[in-house]
Amino acid sequence: MNDATKKRSIAPVFWLLFGAGGMLSALFGPALILLTGVMLPRGWGVPERFGDYAHVLGFARNPIGKLVILAVIALFFWHGAERLFLTLKDMRAGPLPLLRLATYGVAAVVSLVTLTLLLEIGF
């Protein structure tokens, strides 16, 4: 097969999303898990009221807060989607189009849902 017949792969789109999500989670993931999963619910090190409806809503209504929430949820899902797709492919768990739908498809839906909810919540 010579170069002219080689079809360029669209893998770069998913790989860059995977990379962004991987870097974001590598830099802030451990802190976020401790914060939202351990510290806030129990009031350890941070006031418990920071996690109540009013505070979280205030954060989610702030434009910067919206960007943060969108980036974290969407990119974490795109990162996990690529990893899960490749792992399922390694395991020969099913036909590739189905695996893509179950991974990339879910990440796409999640990104859309997150954006929609953030807009619904208002400013």
Partner: protein, 134 residues
């Protein structure tokens, strides 16, 4: 030449569970854990959009013992993601030449792990300080 009959050995279906590939599979699954945590945050956003009652119920569940265990497991998995991420990262860039010699990849990994630790600690510090001052 007429005797040629190349024999194809099939790749074992479970190669990913056998040595030396187990470490790689574990590394990939640690990346999936990142999305599992993202799902917990998504659930929170959904409940937030539903209103104060739904969000209060979400907070209750997150404050439970089971949730604490899940978060600690996810924490371990994500820390493993961080370590393996920066072990792999130097492979994705051209060799860094300093003073005429390539910088050892282990040094790049160590420097980025320090940077990642600083980032996570800084985030926690900011929240703690804001909380203390309010």
């Amino acid at each position: 030449m007429s005797e040629r009959r190349p024999f194809h050995r099939k790749q074992p279906r479970t190669w990913w569970a056998q040595s030396p590939y187990v470490a790689y599979t574990v590394r990939e699954l640690s990346g999936v854990a990142v999305a599992l945590y993202g799902a917990i945050l998504l659930a929170g956003l959904v409940c937030l959009a539903r209103g104060p009652d739904a969000f209060a119920r979400y907070r209750q569940i997150v404050a439970s013992e089971a949730s604490l265990l899940i978060h600690l497991l996810l924490f371990v998995a994500v820390v493993w993601h961080v370590v393996t991420w920066f072990q792999t990262m130097p492979k994705t860039i051209p060799k860094l030449i300093l003073h005429g010699r390539p910088v050892p990849q282990a040094r790049l990994t160590a420097a980025s792990l320090v940077f990642a630790a600083v980032c996570s600690v800084a985030l926690l510090a900011v929240v703690v300080v804001v909380g203390a001052c309010s």
